[in-house]
């Protein structure tokens, strides 16, 4: 208990130092930088009354971004997790799929935007899915790699025991591999969502629709003269990113009781 209180006090002190340094910087050195108080007031105003030019509140922009991330990252999970499990348990499949995934992995999600626009117009006749696709690319590889490591890290002894009891490949996968790899999978989802959140900000800045926190921050910059709104938008991006991460840490603890 005392330890917990001590930690909390330290964290609060750290927060005070951060906010204090920001305030000092804004007041003494960079007048263009809004003070924490000004940014907080703007954050509140944008949350309640909204912003007149784009006609939306900060949270309506946030909902648009979160929606794109959930759809893109959800699709990535559906593909990456089974693929990672399969690669982790089958040497042949692993070698076969290695070239494709390893060649695409180092390409940053935003570098996909031009080609994705061309391909989606060619295949579907619309560029609408591009933003979600960029999120998919961002979330895919962390999910794949973590699942792969999880599937490889399964204790061979456990698999042997299951085999001794004549468990089928599918039964081994379901009862031994998946539960044992689950902590890794959840880490993959958590890291993937983080990258997805970064990717959607970049994708929204490229334009198209006029919604999302990434677009909001860029639009405030392009119109100019409203740095507090930019900082408030960044604060919303940070808070939601933090919230998603904490939720998954929590989910990980609840699901993986035996870890």
């Amino acid at each position: 208990m005392r330890r917990w209180v001590g930690d909390a006090a330290l964290r609060l002190a750290g927060l005070a130092v951060f906010v204090g340094a920001w305030h000092a910087l804004a007041v003494t050195w960079i007048p263009e930088l809004p003070t924490p108080a000004l940014a907080a007031a703007e954050f509140w105003a944008l949350s309640i009354r909204g912003e007149p030019i784009l006609g939306r509140t900060l949270w309506e922009h946030a909902l648009a971004s979160v929606g794109r991330v959930l759809i893109g990252a959800g699709a990535a999970a559906v593909v990456a997790i089974p693929l990672g499990l399969a690669r982790g348990r089958s040497g042949v499949f692993d070698e076969l799929s290695m070239a494709g995934t390893e060649m695409l992995r180092p390409i940053p999600p935003i570098a996909w935007i031009p080609l994705a626009s061309i391909l989606f117009i060619a295949l579907t006749g619309t560029v609408a899915p591009v933003k979600v696709f960029i999120v998919f690319i961002g979330a895919f590889f962390p999910m794949l790699l973590n699942t792969l490591h999880g599937a490889r890290a399964v204790d061979p002894l456990h698999v042997e025991v299951a085999r001794t009891y004549r468990a089928t490949r599918w039964q081994i996968m379901r009862t031994v591999v998946v539960p044992s790899a689950l902590p890794y999978v959840i880490t993959g989802v958590r890291v993937g969502l983080g990258v997805a959140w970064m990717s959607i900000m970049a994708a929204e800045m490229i334009g198209g629709s006029a919604s999302g926190l990434g677009y909001f921050v860029l639009a405030m910059y392009t119109i100019g003269g409203d740095t507090p709104a930019i900082v408030a938008g960044m604060a919303a991006i940070g808070l939601i990113g933090l919230g998603m991460n904490e939720l998954l840490v929590l989910a990980g603890r609840r699901v993986v009781r035996w870890d």
């Binding site: 030019i53 939306r56 919604s211 119109i223 699901v255």
Partner: protein, 352 residues
Amino acid sequence: MMRARHLTMLAAAAALALAVALAGCARSTQSSTSVEVAVLTAPDMLKQLESGDIDGFVAWEPFPATAVSGGYGTVLELSGEIWPDHPCCVLAVAPSVESTAVQAALADAHIRATTWINDPANRAKLLDYAAEFTGKPQEVVEAALKDIRYDDAPNVQGLKDYYAQLKQYQLLKKTPQELGFDTEEAFFDAFIDEAPTELAKKPVLYASQLPATTKVRITYIAGDIHHLAYFVAKKEGLYDKVGLAPGKNLIEVAPFPNGAAIMEAFKNGQIDAAYLGGAPATLKRINDDTKITVIAGVNDLGSALVVGAKSGIAAPEQLAGRTVAVPGPGTVQDVLLRRLLADLGLNYQLKQ
């Protein structure tokens, strides 16, 4: 037990995703009295008009002419039909160009180039220059040129009208008082300086009066046919005539993609003079207090509302429920669309 918790979590996640998706769908349902406005770069407007992602766009030449010549777009309204005599591009200088002689010399070369462009005797050569400058075929630039009025006089009234609309749409973040001017009138007197063009029109050459240290870094928007006067002045040796030698005391800075980027370059002290839209010049002069001065007009008009050839839109009223793209909030094209929709009684709604 564990599995049940699993399923609950999965179900919760799925429900959340579904709720968000549904919320998105509900939002995108259009009322029949509004137009959905997308924000796109001009090259993207062309691609998305062709693909059918958007039903129309408001852009500056040569983009409307390109869509028409590609067979996937038709001009529904010329910008002058929506907003008569509306302002477009200007020639502006940074505070670094202090010398009246340098300002007059820049205006002089610009006026000579504008006169050259408007002289029918130069028509054939003009088309060559326009095609070279924009990288577009001759038939496209020929169509584009029809919609543009090249005029070296600053469109003061037009920019004041534009300012009033920025104020109306709440796009202005600062008042003239916050910028150090007592009235809007005083702000405009400082922002648009007609002295350089008046000096330039006198039969005096400022070449001999240029300070020995003169070095003007000048730029424009890449491929923007409105800025043709710069290219003509360079090609026709008009800068040399006023004592500004390209490569010596007139340094061309690589062109920028849009006016907002040029205003950024002005703010960072990277350039001394530029051809740019009067809209970003005014908007950023006020919102970012980027201290530039307009010393000449470049052109009026020269934008158009283009609709997809397959959109079935034959009259502006039919834009209801459709998607139209503009280059960004507060651009001249954005103001044109807002004006048109207000006249038609349609709502302007940014795309979700």
